[in-house]
């Protein structure tokens, strides 16, 4: 076989292509789950093995859409996701089964998870239904922190934790998914802010990032966990700000409305409790806000959830300290000062988790709720198509699933 500069991989390529197992030889595509900036996710079943296991196949789109796909070099974020998913192994992180590189496309095959937190929250937010049971809520939070703790111990920042990215398997195990924005933080050859300015969906974005911080730390993930905790309690986002879009000059705007939502509940941050505050680039913007006192405790006590709900009131008194512990933990996660914010390990040691009900390995244990299965569509389950209509060419990383966006606006 010829080897030349125009055909530089000559015989190697032919040999390799002939032995590669094809995606469609290995998996039967059951339907299409979702799309994002990266490409699409399909539900699939293995054609081999007796167990009929189910998978979610994430297909990265080729860079150029339409016409003929070209090799253009794999994006750095796809490289990071491939490398990290291949290395990480933990009960509370989605398991990568394999990666298939075929016809200019990358397929990442993950174990399928039947639910996600956004879906659970939406299910419970229906007016006829009850809040998320205490035991389920606590188990979700504990498992989420367990996964985050593993990531941080391994110097990985997730940077995009939000309910849609937290999966739950049919047997009730929380799986942190979508490491598309995750990065190692132990050896930044470049400061972590270069390359990708906008990180974490705005509702879950930590105040130091809103204030223009140039240094991401594990604390940004913990803030997001705090927001998710609050959302599991209230069944709606605690800080639901409106995103200020990037202007034509490509400058990153100050997310004034998001900051406003946070200050309204947590009060105006002070230099006394957060000494580094004046050093943030957007510090001056804070002076134009009205001054607020923290109403987090009031917010927490009016949440129609957990122990305050009708069935819990029957056993009234002993529940009070437990309720207080939940508030303390929430407060520790939503601490303004990133240096004082709880770490994942500290949060897992919090007395909240020592009280009954204890967290369980199956979040659905002793709960009689039948959650709906993940919706899949059969309109477009041709995984091999080159063009992927419905995927955005570019955009901010908060690419929620289109079918979910509608649900979200229902809140």
């Amino acid at each position: 076989m010829s080897l030349s500069i125009r055909s530089p991989l000559g015989g190697y390529k032919i040999r390799r292509d002939s032995t590669r197992k094809k995606v469609l030889d290995r998996y039967e595509i059951l339907g299409y789950i979702a799309a994002g900036t990266y490409g699409r996710v399909y539900k699939a079943r293995s054609k081999y093995g007796t167990q009929q296991r189910e998978f979610a196949i994430k297909k990265f789109k080729a860079d150029k859409e339409g016409e003929v796909a070209h090799y253009t070099g794999i994006s750095q974020s796809a490289c990071r996701e491939i490398a990290l998913c291949r290395e990480l192994r933990h009960t509370n992180i989605t398991t990568l089964t394999e990666i298939i590189l075929e016809d200019k496309c990358i397929y990442m095959v993950f174990e399928f998870a039947e639910h996600d937190l956004l879906q659970l929250i939406h299910f419970h937010s229906h007016p006829d239904r009850r809040p998320i049971p205490d035991s389920t809520l606590k188990s979700i939070l504990w498992q989420l922190l367990n996964g985050v703790s593993y990531l941080h111990q391994n110097w990985v920042l997730h940077r995009d934790l939000k309910p849609a990215n937290i999966m739950v398997t049919a047997d009730g195990v929380v799986k942190i998914g979508d490491l598309g924005l995750a990065r190692l933080f132990h050896k930044p050859l470049q400061p972590l802010f270069t390359g990708d300015k906008v990180v974490v969906t705005i509702w879950y974005r930590a105040p130091e990032l809103l204030l223009g911080s140039r240094h991401y730390t594990p604390a940004v993930d913990i803030w997001a966990v705090g927001c998710i905790f609050a959302e599991l309690l209230a069944l709606r986002p605690i800080f639901k700000g409106e995103e200020a879009k990037m202007d034509n000059k490509k400058t990153v705007p100050f997310q004034r409305n998001q900051m406003q939502k946070i200050i309204e509940i947590l009060g105006t941050p002070t230099r006394e409790s957060w000494p580094a505050l004046p050093q943030y680039p957007e510090y001056h913007a804070l002076s134009s806000f009205k001054t607020y006192q923290s109403v987090l405790e009031t917010w927490y006590n009016t949440v129609p959830n957990a122990t305050s709900s009708s069935h819990a009131n029957q056993s009234s008194q002993p529940q009070q300290p437990a309720r207080q512990r939940g508030f303390q933990l929430l407060q520790g996660l939503l601490e303004y000062n990133p240096l004082k914010r709880l770490t994942a390990e500290q949060a897992m040691q919090h007395p909240y988790f020592g009280e009954m009900p204890k967290p369980t390995a199956n979040i659905f244990e002793s709960v009689n709720v039948e959650y709906p299965h993940r919706r899949i569509s059969n309109e477009d389950n041709d995984i091999k198509t080159v063009s992927l209509p419905g995927t955005k060419r570019s955009g901010l990383p908060d690419d929620s699933l289109p079918s979910r966006k509608k649900l979200r606006n229902d809140h």
Partner: protein
């Protein structure tokens, strides 16, 4: 995992014993029909590739750490593919391109291609899709394991620990420099496929200190005391010294082979390899 070599993919999937590595290479020869021995001394070829990677790295101003990752990618790739069935200039440029992304110092694909083309105009076209295509095959051949641990960090830790172990035991700046060079040169050998980074780092320290000592007869009391202290520390540092001795022998034997290395011979060999197949 990313923070811990002992749970990493490098430890679990890309570390072999010498017999295992020999078997993998024999299998690749059988699969491809190309024999390694037809290309002469394998280490001369590795020295040649090492030089090419360093040259491309200099042109792109890439950090040593990223080049080290590129060298490991290249070494892994050619355990499973024959040099003769590929264009190694393209493959190694691709290794540099991918390593830069993984080490968070990304280079635009067009810069990599144009620098490679300016260095090796006979072997690289200006078409970046060739390199992008090669990246797919490279990642596949690496089984998508892209995070690599290097001896540099261990070297710093070990030398610090040695320095803290007692008076005068620490490395002099000269010795540290030598140790760094030994680590850099270790990428020319199979050691990164065979041993953990801390063993290679300790080998580098061993070679920089012990092998540079004057012969026992001309050692003064001070030198003898220091050597003893260092050997005691070696014995107690938890790394198998037999491995260190093996690695040192590999390095010494590399330096011997390096004496007979002639770059032009290799350049001509590559030219024949690629021209013959045109």
């Amino acid at each position: 995992m990313a923070a811990n070599y002992w749970t990493s993919s490098q430890y679990n999937h890309w570390r072999f014993t010498r017999p295992q590595l020999d078997r993998i290479r024999a299998q690749t020869e059988a699969d491809t029909g190309f024999r390694q021995q037809d290309l002469g001394e394998p280490r001369h070829l590795r020295i040649f590739f090492h030089g090419l990677i360093q040259a491309l790295g200099r042109h792109l101003s890439v950090r040593q750490q990223a080049l080290a990752t590129a060298e490991v990618y290249l070494a892994r790739f050619y355990t499973r593919a024959a040099v003769q069935e590929t264009n190694p200039y393209l493959v190694l440029a691709t290794c540099v391109y991918l390593a830069c992304k993984m080490e968070e110092c990304p280079q635009h694909i067009r810069s990599v291609v144009s620098e490679a083309k300016s260095l090796w105009p006979d072997f690289i076209t200006h078409d970046p899709t060739k390199l992008a295509e090669c990246e797919f095959y490279l990642i596949e051949e690496l089984d998508s394991y892209l995070i690599v641990h290097h001896p540099y960090r261990s070297l710093n830790q070990l030398s610090k620990a040695l320095g803290a172990s007692g008076n005068n035991a620490g490395l002099s700046p000269d010795e540290m420099q030598t140790a760094w060079s030994v680590v850099n040169d270790s990428f020319v050998t199979d050691l990164p496929l065979l041993y953990p980074p801390n063993v290679i780092a300790l080998t580098a320290i061993y070679m920089s200190v012990v092998l540079r000592m004057p012969p026992a007869s001309s050692q003064n009391e001070r030198t003898r005391t220091r050597l003893k202290r260092i050997m005691d520390w070696f014995a107690g540092c938890g790394i198998d010294l037999e491995d260190v001795v093996y690695c040192s022998q590999e390095m010494i034997s590399l330096y011997e082979v390096w004496e007979s290395y002639n770059e032009k011979t290799l350049r001509d060999l590559m030219a024949r390899l690629i021209a013959n197949k045109r």
